[in-house]
């Protein structure tokens, strides 16, 4: 199972946009998560002293991903943290997608962490989850 992501430079010059591709919806979630947390800080410079478990469900994977990424932005502000890693599992039960995730990070500390963009939110601009030829794709624009 794999995913890749790349920064899209042409569609959001004032902000940050990326596109993720994955072999599965779960890979897509992992890739988008990694792209987002990397946009905020270098994870290798962040300790794992703070943890949070998140659980979300939705019948629509696209909405679930949007809300999940928004959760990461929310906790960055509400808890004052940046992320070291996120372990997540996405499963499907009947007609619902279920996401279970463990966030690991630390309170923001400019003296030890490589901080990047203060992401203000995930936008719906050009947002959409698509599948073609067995590959899943999503484009995300972050407001910084």
């Amino acid at each position: 199972m794999t995913y890749t992501y790349r920064v899209l430079e042409d569609i959001a010059i004032a902000d940050v946009a990326f596109e993720v591709e994955g072999d599965s919806v779960e890979d897509l979630f992992r890739g988008a998560t990694e792209a987002l947390i990397e946009a905020m800080a270098n994870p290798a410079t962040v300790e794992g002293t703070w943890e949070r478990i998140i659980r979300r469900m939705d019948t629509d994977a696209s909405t679930l991903l949007f809300d999940w990424l928004s959760d990461l932005v929310y906790w960055k502000d509400a808890a004052g943290v940046v992320y070291r890693e996120v372990q997540l599992r996405l499963s499907r039960r009947l007609d619902e997608w279920e996401l279970q995730a463990r966030l690991s990070g630390a309170p923001v500390d400019p003296s030890t962490q490589e901080l990047r963009a203060d992401v203000k939110g995930v936008t719906k601009h050009l947002y959409g989850l698509t599948e073609a030829g067995g590959r899943w794709r999503v484009r995300v624009v972050l407001d910084v």
Partner: protein, 998 residues
Amino acid sequence: MRGESQAQAVEMKLNTDMNVERITDQIWEIPATEKPGMLVSARIYATSTILQSMDSGVFDQVTNVACLPGIRRYALCMPDGHWGYGFPIGGVAAFDVSSGVISPGGVGYDVNCLAGDAHVLHELGYWRPIRSFDGAWRGERVVCVNPAHAVRNAEIGAFLLKTATTPVFRVITESGRQIVASADHPFLTKHGMTPLNALQLGDEVSVYPFEGVDYEPPSTRVLLTERDLAGIYPGTRNGLAQAVKALRQRELLPLQLDHPALPFLTKLMGFVQGDGCLQLDDGGRAQIGMYGDPDDLESIREDVRRIGFMASRVYRREREHEIHTRYGRKRFRHIESSVHIRSSALALLLVALGTTKGSKASQDFEVPVWLHETPLWMRRLYLASFFGAELSSPATVTGHGYNFSAPTLSLNKRAQAVGSGRRFLRQIQEWLRDFGVESAPLNETEDSRNKDGSTSIRLRLQISSEPDNLVKLWSRIGYGYNRRKQYLANVAAQYLRLKNTVISERAASVKTTVVMKQTPGTTLRSITHAIGSPYVNTRFVARSLWGGRLTDVRIGTEFSRFAEFVTEKTNGLGVTGQVWDRIIHKEPVAHVGPVYDVHVLDDHHNFIADGFVVSNCGMRLIRTELTLKDVQPRLERLMTELFRKVPAGVGASGFVRLNRAALDAVMTKGARWCIEQGYGWHGDLGRIEEGGCITGADPEKVSDHAVSRGINQLGTLGSGNHYLEVQVVSDDRIFDRETAAALGIIGHDQIVVMVHCGSRGFGHQVATDYLKVFEKAMRRYGIAVKDQQLACAPFRSPEGQDYFAAMNCAANTAFANRQVITHQIREAFASVFGRSAEELGMELVYDVAHNIAKVERYQDGEVVVHRKGSTRAFGPGSPDLPEVFQQTGQPVICGGSMETGSYLLVGTERAMQETFGSTMHGSGRTMSRAQAKRSVRGEQLQHQMKLRGIVVKAVSMSGLAEEAGFAYKNISEVVDTVDRAGITKKVAELRPIGNIKG
């Protein structure tokens, strides 16, 4: 012609296929016929050069806006326009208030532009050093006392930390309490709040004897999951699913040990185990009933509400009871008050946590197992609530008046369950020992015969009546959900402490007496005088000398009985649990380090610190203005100080910490709140758009989510294109000397400070929340939009009005944010230059918004003007401008890149006629962030700028690289466009010499 301008058909190539017609050299129009659904034409203010550099998003988005219902005249875009979310950045559109819409996409997310060991008693019964609240008191509530009425819990409104500028004293009272406070710190006395430096020995101050226990953070272990509930739910699968859903919606599943609701659940559990009953039948129907005093039941209702559920109102009914005891049949009547909760979800949760379902007398139960691994303060909550229901009230021994009876806990169990009853009470005893409280071995008696012939056994746990033991019980554990008992416990604890002090003093005096008497010629009177205690008279000294007393010292007969003590020492304090305590010692102490205070949101502004009822300290303000010659030698130091004082970047949090209620005040009052708190001067308000406070803000329309994101960000810069910049105004860069002078700009290399920031995550979340609301609302109102980000609702609709009220909250918060930053800037300047801000003349020139929707009146009537990356630019004579700007027109502040500089302009009458009183806001980007980072490294850019005389401090070097000057349009060209178009007039150019970036 398609993709080309009319005037320069051969040379111009535009990033659009739509027809763009030249109106003037600065105004271009896309006719309404160019896109299906356009209700009006779109107009772009730009030179031909700028127009060609505009990305395709500008043309696409401005024409999408032209399709929105109720739009008036034109959809506009300013010369700094570029692609945005829904609206282009630089976009302006006005909608009829009756038939038009309001759209978060037209407002944006970033609202506004321009910039120690005192122990506090927490509501959950633990003490924390006041400094520990720094950064950790969002949502925290502390015990607050209203002198004559009640003890209640109030949220902390602000946290303050400062260097002590007045002497610091240690105060000791008769009962042995100590506190270290600054001389100006008020204490509650019989004459009201009185500063410490006005208090004398012998004065009485109010103390709150309850101490609780130290705080310890709970673990994050998951306590309950859905699987745990499935094993115990008695109803159907569907019923279980509904209960689980209800708990998930309230974020109570999975439930971790550090969940903020768990302390309240624990309190409720303890009480239900005593004076409550929980039913959960096989059909999944639930009823939780709790019985007690009406005021206490209201507290329970409030706690139930806080965890997301609802309890009934307090019911009252007269009941007649009859029980058979070993003493005979007893009948009695009383008014029974109760509340009831019918939530299966809550009942299931409480059962899963260990609450007994059904009859407690006939079932086995123990203390909840998981509580064993929790901190002491959490176990205290369970015990206190259980004691509030079941433990006897403090009372003196009948006929004695000085000593107290042993508090007793009784538990009735049917014979078959008496074993578990004994285990339960032994577990309670074990927990009591953790608090240092001892009790006697359990006692059992046969109590009554039940209707079915079975016997009930009464188990009794008696707590030792030894005074020190009682003080620990009542001051560390106390009673929960029982104000009367807690009040008595407080006073009793104080009484016993004082008694102990008296006894200790008298005991010590005996030794002193014996020693002094060895000196020949020493009289009883001189010994008594030397001891100097109000509790040691000559008779006592005499008895100590000749009565053979060396042990068994007691209080004298002059010491009050408890009943008298209650009357005397709570006079004027109602049943709050406060007690008057006399100051017996006050000495100045050398204090190193800061002093702290918390502001609580209660009419009486007091809270409990080290047992004393204290109030808030006042605040002070500082401000400054200089020339380049003054600043250059200290520029590095100035920028370092500004970087230190104004937090920026990811996760930056300010020194002013707020909770929901205080943030509500910020949301409704904006910059006025800051002035009230002392973060600014009254004169500042007249120089802020709308006086720094937009009416119509309603915090009820703002989600908790948005509040959580923004609550500790007051006084901070974000990152991205937000900044704080120190600039210089040279004589040769002033274009309108008269107007400049009227605005306080005199040139001669004058130093000014510019701040660009908004309401940060808070404003963004407000917009995101309402985008979701509007997505659903649009279907109902039959509105279709060409871009999801243009989601909107009719302005007059409930959804539209709710958003408007929430947006105004965000706008006011952004005004407040820049006001606090202004305060910090003034302090930094004063610190570096050694003169006050007033002496340095640091007045506000102006503060203006550039992402906002406002209701304004033009020739079209009343409209909702959306300014998305564009600035209000009211002309001279506008009735909405204060007197100071009537001649000049409203100042407009436009920020360029950190390398090129910014501009000060003023609005014009032409803007009122053509662009709904609007103009540009900045220069706009031409290069992506990624490309900028590839072109230069942050450290390299910082060094290059330093060589050019611009000192830059940045939290993120990659963020700094993204903001390189070459990534932005030439601001001068953009400004010249609006100047030539006549919608704004240039006043002065401002050159950067120092910059702070997030």
